[in-house]
Every structure is written in structure tokens, then in C-alpha cells.
């Protein structure tokens, strides 16, 4: 018994020596936001960057803008959050518009857009599709960027187990509408499914 206790004590002491006190100290490390492994199945910075960049690339490879349509003006009318998570949707459109601007697309100033929406008694998220088109035209834009993000969550069924699994699926759809013709000129989608496991029993 005493030998066993001594052995356990020795192993514990060696463990502490090997790791030093680092496990008990706070630390800060630089990480790549695009490649850092996710900590939960929920929306995170990796999704923001991946979706923003991928969708901008998808749009530009459509091809968009057409060669006859140099430096078109686009207005961002928001991506509708249809999930059960409060997500900063503007951050996604900001990431996309940055990429699109680098390719020559020009954007209506968002403060001007918001002023006009406010004048008409709306908020961007509450504006109807008709009023969005109308506002986009008034702002002198040729194209309007809209979209929606949906989320489907599935949890493992109730049974005797020590951990719970959850699948979280997101699908982001982005549309570009020609404000003159009212036609959707392109629609792109990105999706991802992530599974997380969570312990159901703890200390």
C-alpha cells in the first residue's frame, strides 16, 4: 500500500516538474483565426472569415462584375439572421465587401443607407424586400447584396450516456439582385456541419 502511494506521489511530482508551473499561469498566444480549431459547434471567427472570403470568391468567379459593367455600385442590404444565435451579420457582409471592393466593386456608404432606411421608418433587419429594392434604387446602386443564414441543430436522443452530441448545421445564402431589372443575377451558398460532444456528468 505504502509503495503504491509512493509511486503515485512520484509520478505526480514528475508531472508537475515536467510541466513546470505553466499549467497554473495565465498566458497569451498569437493564433491564426482561420486555422484555429473550433472550441464549440457554434458560429465562430473561423466561420466569419471562411464564409466571407469564400462567398466573395464565388461571386467574383461567377463572373461578376461583367466586363461590360466596370466598377458597378452595390448596396449591402444585409444578410438576415434566421438562426437561434445572436450573430453580428454585418461582420460577414463587411468581410465580403472588403474582398469585392478589392476586385473593383464600389459600395454605397452604409451610413447614407441607414439614414434613408431610418427616414422611411425602418431598420435594415425589418425592411421588407420591396422597400429594400426601393431604397437601393434611391441610393443610386445598380446591384443589391442580400442573403440569409439558417441554422439546424440536432441533439442526440435521450438515453443513458455520459456525453451529449450536438450537430450544428449552417447554410449561408447570398444573392445579388440587379436593381434595374429586379432579377436575381446570382445566388451562392456555403454551408458547414460541425459536431460537438459535451459531457453530461461533471464534478
Amino acid at each position: 500500500m505504502r509503495r503504491t502511494l509512493t509511486a503515485i506521489g512520484t509520478v505526480a511530482a514528475m508531472g508537475v516538474l515536467a510541466t513546470g508551473c505553466s499549467a497554473f499561469r495565465g498566458s497569451v498566444k498569437e493564433k491564426n483565426p482561420e486555422t484555429t480549431a473550433p472550441m464549440t459547434a457554434k458560429y465562430d471567427q473561423g466561420d466569419l472569415l471562411t464564409w466571407g472570403k469564400l462567398l466573395a470568391k464565388d461571386i467574383l468567379s461567377h463572373p461578376f462584375p461583367l466586363p461590360t459593367d466596370k466598377n458597378p455600385i452595390m448596396v449591402v442590404m444585409g444578410i438576415q439572421n434566421r438562426t437561434g444565435t445572436h450573430i453580428d451579420m454585418k461582420a460577414i457582409t463587411d468581410t465580403m465587401s472588403t474582398e469585392l471592393m478589392n476586385a473593383g466593386v464600389r459600395f454605397v456608404n452604409e451610413a447614407r443607407r441607414d439614414d434613408l432606411i431610418k427616414e422611411q421608418g425602418f431598420q435594415l433587419a425589418n425592411a421588407t424586400p420591396e422597400s429594400r429594392v426601393q431604397i437601393g434604387k434611391q441610393l443610386g446602386a445598380k446591384y443589391m447584396l442580400t442573403g440569409s443564414l439558417i441554422e439546424i441543430k440536432t441533439e442526440s436522443s435521450r438515453q443513458v450516456r455520459v456525453s451529449k452530441q450536438e450537430d450544428v448545421y449552417y447554410q449561408l445564402t447570398v444573392e445579388v439582385t440587379d436593381l434595374e431589372s429586379g432579377l436575381i443575377v446570382l445566388r451562392k451558398q456555403e454551408d458547414r456541419l460541425r459536431r460537438a460532444s459535451k459531457p453530461m456528468i461533471g464534478w
Binding site: 438576415q80 445572436h86 425602418f122 431598420q123 433587419a125 425589418n126 421588407t128 459531457p199
Partner: protein, 391 residues
């Protein structure tokens, strides 16, 4: 066998967990029950440190007190923190489970009853609508739908939360989702129905439906009103002590008041009682009764055995331990007390532009109180939202 020192330590820990920190919380609650939300905000204690067994309860109470005082940004922050806490507490704690099985139910972290976990999203949606933010109210609506649509395992459904979720889904363009929730809400009401295509109330009788004058495209005002407070648990409920313990009883009486809605001085419709929160509580207690009885019997047996074992070694200490253990044998009466008692909804025709909405609360034809609100901030398409609380 449990050692006396260990028993004393466990006792001290559990008493500390119950704590006297709730005294200030009780004062803040009383201020709200008395109709003074600003005094409740002022007397509210600091939140307990992280890991406290009552962290969720404190947050929930602060959220609804802040909401009642008009601090909707603060309320939203607290509701979001509550939703986060509920998720973090969603596991079985071995230490707390053992303590609650041997000492007292108060040794468990408060996780909120199922109806409370739904209503926290409902009230969060109230605050978002009060801030004019229909998009985020829609997010809360989807959380309500997710919670109420999963297997409820015998716990009660909530017509008001479903109706609010439906209206928010409709406002954010999800007409199919809204129709499902309107239908579900309708199925929970008696003597009243909800048209799943329009969200309007219909009386299931020969009377003409309320709101019949509204055309499909005309603007409508959705009023979402919380009345009174559910208050502390009265152990003798629903016997005669029930009336005396009910906060706001002197004002509201036992029955929910009638609600008349005036837009720019013109009567446009009436409120419909959709949820009696005390019924949700009672149904929840009924659902948990068998589990509670089994647990209490086990705990009493464990305490008895422990005290007998100790008294075999030291009779005096055994008696003291017996007294201490059974002094802890008190029912866990924690609940979100500042929740509204009645949840009332109305959907009435409204002109495209108007100055004010007046809500008149009447009991047996006598006006109990009135509220006047400027044109509601939340607007989506033809829907306008007004959320409020009458204390």
C-alpha cells in the same frame, strides 16, 4: 459512516450556499411587487461570484427587474447571460447531486424550471421589441420554438410564448414557421382561437371575430403585456394562504384584468389572456411530484441512518446531528419570482401613423390602471409591436 467533523463541514457549506445574500434580493423583489421597479433596481444586490448556486436566479430576477424599469439594454444583457448559464449548467453535478440527496435540495445549483427557461427567451424578445430590434426578437423566437418543439416530457406548453414567437417569425418573413406556431398557440387556448394565416384572434362562438375590420394588408398592432408578478412560492398553495401571499393581490385580485386598447383615443380591441404563469408552475410541480417524493424519502432515510450511526458512538452528538440534518429538511422553493403572473396578447388594427396607444386595465368594469405609450419603436412591414409590463 460519516464522521462528525465531516457532517459539520457539510452542514456549514450547505448553509453558506443557502446564504443570507438572498436578503437583499428579497428586498428588491418586494420593491418590484410593490410597483416600484426603480427602487428594485437600486436595492438589487451585486451578483454572486461565479459558481454560486443561485447565479442563474439572481440574473433572471435582475433581468426582469431591469426590464420592468425600462432598462431594456441591461435586461437583454442579463437575459443573454442567463441563456448562456442555462447551457453551462446543463449537466449532472455529482457533488451537488450527492449533497442534495443527503443534505438538502438547496445544495443544487438553480437551473431554472423548464417554463422559466422558455420565458427567459420570451422576455428577452420583449426587450428586443421594446428596443425596436425585430431581427434579434426573431432569434429569440427561434429559441422559443426550439425549446417548445422538443420532447417536453410532460412539462407544460406555453401559448403566450408560442404566439409571441409566431408574431416575431411573421415579422421577419417566416410565414410558414409563424403559421405553425399560431396553430400551436390556438390549440392551447380555450374558448378562443388564433387564425394561423393572419395571427388574429377569433372567438370560438357566434360572436364576430375581433379585428374583423382589418384587411389583410392593413397595419396591425401586436400588444404583448405582462401583468402582476408570480411572487414567492406559497407552500400551502392553492389553499387559503394562497391569496395572502400573492403579490399585487390587493391591486389585481385573483382574476386577470380585462385589457382595452385605444389608439389615438379610439377603442381598437381587447387583450386575450394567453398564459397564467402560476398554472405553468403548478403543472411543473405536478410533473415533478413523484421524483421529489422519492428523493425526499431517500434523503430522510440517509439522514436517519447517519444520525443513528453517530449516536451509537456519541449519543449527544448523534442527537445534535439529527437536529441539524432535519433542520435542513426544507422544501426548495426557489423560483423566478419577478416573472409576470399573467401574459396577455392582442392584435388589433392600427392606422399607418398614430401618436399614442393607451392601455386600460379593468377589473369588473373598474379601471385599475392606465398606461400611455408613444408610437411603438418596433415595426416590420405592416406589424407594429408594443411590449409592456403592468405591476
Amino acid at each position: 459512516m460519516i464522521r462528525p467533523a465531516s457532517a459539520a463541514l457539510l452542514l456549514a457549506v450547505s448553509l453558506a450556499a443557502g446564504g443570507c445574500a438572498t436578503a437583499r434580493l428579497d428586498r428588491a423583489r418586494s420593491d418590484l411587487f410593490a410597483g416600484s421597479p426603480s427602487a428594485a433596481v437600486a436595492s438589487f444586490p451585486d451578483l454572486p461570484p461565479k459558481g454560486n448556486l443561485n447565479s442563474l436566479l439572481f440574473r433572471l430576477e435582475r433581468a426582469s427587474i431591469r426590464q420592468a424599469s425600462g432598462d431594456h439594454e441591461g435586461a437583454v444583457a442579463d437575459f443573454l447571460a442567463c441563456a448562456d448559464l442555462v447551457e453551462k449548467l446543463d449537466y449532472y453535478s455529482v457533488s451537488q447531486g450527492a449533497a442534495s440527496l443527503t443534505l438538502t435540495d438547496w445544495a443544487r445549483a438553480y437551473k431554472g424550471m423548464p417554463y422559466e427557461r422558455v420565458l427567459l427567451h420570451t422576455l428577452a424578445a420583449h426587450s428586443y421589441l421594446a428596443l425596436g430590434n425585430v431581427g434579434d426578437a426573431g432569434v429569440e423566437a427561434r429559441n422559443i420554438v426550439a425549446l417548445l418543439s422538443r420532447d417536453r416530457d410532460g412539462y407544460p406548453d406555453d401559448a403566450y410564448s408560442r404566439y409571441l414567437a409566431a408574431a416575431c417569425l411573421e415579422a421577419t418573413g417566416d410565414d410558414d414557421g409563424a403559421a405553425i406556431e399560431y396553430r400551436a398557440a390556438s390549440g392551447l387556448l380555450s374558448g378562443m382561437g388564433v387564425d394561423e394565416r393572419t395571427g388574429r384572434f377569433t372567438i370560438v362562438s357566434t360572436n364576430p371575430p375581433i379585428g374583423v375590420t382589418a384587411t389583410p394588408a392593413s397595419p396591425e398592432l401586436v400588444c404583448l403585456v405582462g401583468i402582476g408578478s408570480i411572487g414567492p412560492v406559497s407552500v400551502d398553495m392553492p389553499n387559503r394562504t394562497y391569496k395572502a401571499s400573492r403579490p399585487g393581490f390587493a391591486r389585481w385580485g385573483l382574476a386577470p384584468p380585462e385589457l382595452d386598447i385605444y389608439v389615438d383615443g379610439k377603442l381598437v380591441g381587447h387583450g386575450v389572456l394567453m398564459t397564467d404563469v402560476s398554472r405553468l408552475f403548478q403543472d411543473t410541480q405536478r410533473r415533478e411530484a413523484a421524483k421529489k417524493i422519492a428523493k425526499t424519502v431517500t434523503r430522510i432515510a440517509v439522514k436517519e441512518i447517519t444520525a443513528v450511526q453517530v449516536s451509537k458512538r456519541n449519543e449527544g452528538l448523534g442527537l445534535l446531528l439529527w437536529l441539524a440534518l432535519f433542520a435542513m429538511e426544507q422544501e426548495d422553493v426557489r423560483r423566478w419570482e419577478t416573472l409576470p403572473l399573467w401574459l396577455v396578447a392582442a392584435r388589433v388594427p392600427a392606422p399607418a401613423t398614430y401618436r399614442e396607444v393607451r392601455l386600460v386595465f379593468r377589473q369588473n368594469g373598474v379601471t385599475i390602471c392606465e398606461q400611455t405609450h408613444p408610437a411603438p419603436p418596433a415595426r416590420a412591414g405592416r406589424l407594429r409591436f408594443l411590449t409592456t409590463r403592468a405591476l
